[in-house]
């Protein structure tokens, strides 16, 4: 485990006991899995007291085989002064896709969350303008979920067996 991982984990354990479900290093990034209800408190704490002033990116992920951890949101923070980057993940089942919004902490989360809503259907509670952003408003599904195949479902000339897979 990296030094940065241990420092952040220690700070979070002291301040928010039980908020971190699991953690570890993924290549050069410390990754923390958080409780959804503690997300805002933890990120606010890191921004205000640990210098993680920059929300680099966030995105949704769909793991169709993970049961009650089917959907995940990934957040990446950057401490520009000390050049530290960390990643957070929040998992949730398909039935509870409501997540507190980050727009109160970083205005830049506005469009990032609209994108996650557009492609995965996360409901960001408290978001000022939760509309689709890249797809058209009339669309009635969330296209980056794994159940939507890219290919036309009626095509049978591209099945795996023809390629020896």
């Amino acid at each position: 485990m990296s030094e940065l991982h241990d420092n952040i984990l220690q700070a979070l354990e002291e301040r928010f006991p039980g908020a971190v479900i699991s953690s570890g290093d993924e290549r050069d990034f410390p990754v923390f899995h958080l409780q959804k209800n503690q997300l805002i408190a933890v990120l606010t704490f890191l921004k205000q007291e640990k210098g993680f002033n920059f929300l680099t990116t966030m995105c949704g992920i769909h793991y169709p085989e993970q049961g009650d951890q089917e959907f995940a949101l990934m957040y990446q923070l950057h401490n520009m002064v000390q050049n530290q980057r960390i990643r957070f993940k929040v998992f949730m089942p398909k039935s509870q896709l409501d997540v507190p919004t980050l727009t109160t902490i970083w205005p830049t989360a506005n469009w990032m969350e609209r994108e996650a809503f557009d492609f995965y259907g996360f409901k960001f509670t408290g978001h000022p303008d939760l509309r689709r952003i890249l797809n058209m408003d009339e669309m009635n599904y969330h296209p980056l979920r794994k159940e939507y195949a890219l290919e036309d479902a009626g095509r049978d000339d591209k099945e795996d067996k023809y390629f020896g897979r």
């Binding site: 993924e26 990116t57 520009m80 205005p107 469009w111 890219l150 897979r165």
Partner: protein, 414 residues
């Protein structure tokens, strides 16, 4: 005009419907103006629905997604080497940087050590691409202020850069340059000739443009204090690249997290103070000089050796080997059919793109295609500040602000 420019009107939604200006207590008519989706002055497909008070913008509502091509979904169905052409079409003004960013992401995932020569070749390509990108942005700012001449002059330099791309990879705009593990081939003799010619000619051309435009009275009147943003606000809005540096924050991925041997080169990070259009223009001008200096250093220090790493499952073998060697035939087949296997894992790699931190977040489940690929597109993230930057200003300044932010439709909509 001077007085009008600094006027900032904050009108609540409910006041809008009654058309009453509370401060002056007189009835007002607001005009709704549809700027875009296709408008010659916006250089791309952007729509902004503007509420106008005369020539002042009261409110702007941007709509994006007109050229959305579902790259993140497409990438989940393509083998790794076939994703490179997708990245070309993100920021198409500097596609080589996007290509290299993607190669480096995969190299990080497969733990591939790239030889020094390949890294230096990549640096040359990336800095040429940065110059091409900044040429587009800076000349277009000049065009939007009415100065066509500078644009026509400096675009010749961009043409020279495209000729260099062409000599290296055969393509000009959507380059698909380099391969996972290095370059597809060493630079041919003709490419070196063109690079040396470019190093010789470009300073004159850039200095000429600089002389023509930068201190021009009309240009400065139009750009100084036009569409400013403070450093704090820029950071909160996730600005990166020249736009953030124009606001005064010296954040550059090339220095912060050096990749591809950028630590070997000596260059400065130009920063601005006001974060306005003029500063954004100046930061890009200075960066072109720095990029040129990096290219010179890379050419001078060019190490000898291999131009690609030893990763045969990502690098097409020589054609005569395919016909005569078993391994080469197998690898050829695997690459062409997209059957290359990669380890499981999760990586994020960022490069300093033409307009900011271009990040690739890749999750691999060990299959032939990525499980999830997310592009951190700098345009997409900072364009949301656009409405805040233009509200209270004039319509003509809004056009300038957009071109100075270097919003590229392909990257915005992915």
């Amino acid at each position: 005009m001077q007085v009008e420019m600094t006027r900032k009107i904050n009108i609540l939604e409910d006041n809008m419907s009654t058309n009453v200006d509370l401060q002056n207590n007189i009835e007002k008519d607001y005009t709704t103006l549809n700027l875009g989706p296709t408008h010659p002055a916006t250089h791309g497909i952007f729509q902004n629905i503007l509420t106008m008070d005369g020539e002042i913008i009261v409110k702007a509502v941007p709509t994006i997604g007109y050229i959305h091509r579902a790259f993140e979904k497409l990438a989940e169905h393509r083998p790794y080497n076939q994703i490179t052409p997708i990245t070309d079409r993100l920021n198409y003004c500097s596609s080589p940087i996007n290509n290299m960013g993607w190669h480096m992401t995969v190299e990080k995932l497969i733990n591939c050590e790239v030889p020094k020569r390949a890294e230096y070749l990549r640096v040359i390509i990336m800095e040429l691409a940065r110059i091409a990108d900044h040429i587009v942005c800076d000349t277009v700012i000049a065009v939007d202020t009415g100065a066509m001449t500078g644009f026509l002059y400096l675009f010749q330099a961009r043409e020279k850069i495209y000729e260099i791309y062409e000599a290296i990879c055969g393509a000009r705009l959507t380059t698909n340059i380099g391969r996972i593990g290095g370059m597809e081939r060493d630079f041919p003799e003709i490419a070196w000739k063109k690079i040396h010619a470019f190093i010789d000619e470009f300073p004159t051309m850039l200095a000429e443009f600089d002389k023509l435009v930068t201190r021009n009275r009309i240009f400065m009147d139009r750009t100084v204090n036009c569409g400013p943003i403070s450093a704090e606000r820029a950071l909160e809005y996730g600005f990166t690249g020249p736009n953030l540096r124009a606001a005064g924050v010296d954040y550059d991925v090339r220095v912060m997290n050096p990749y591809s041997s950028y630590q070997d080169f000596d260059f400065k990070i130009p920063v601005g103070t006001q974060g306005d259009t003029f500063d954004r223009y100046m930061v890009r001008m200075q960066e072109m000089w720095e990029s040129l200096s990096i290219i010179k250093q890379a050419v001078a220090k060019m190490p000898k050796g291999e131009f690609h790493a030893d990763v045969p499952e990502f690098y097409l073998p020589e054609k005569q080997d395919v016909y005569s060697k078993m391994e080469a035939l197998i690898y050829h087949f695997k690459i062409v059919m997209g059957e290359t296997e990669v380890p499981k894992g999760e990586v994020y790699h960022a490069v300093e793109g033409g307009n900011g931190e271009l990040g690739y977040y890749l999750i691999s489940d060990g299959g032939r295609t990525p499980f999830r690929l997310h592009f951190r597109r700098p345009c997409y993230i900072y364009y949301q500040a656009y409405s805040e930057m233009i509200e209270g200003g004039m319509l003509s300044d809004a056009i300038l602000t957009m071109s100075s932010m270097n919003v590229i439709a392909g990257e915005l909509d992915a």
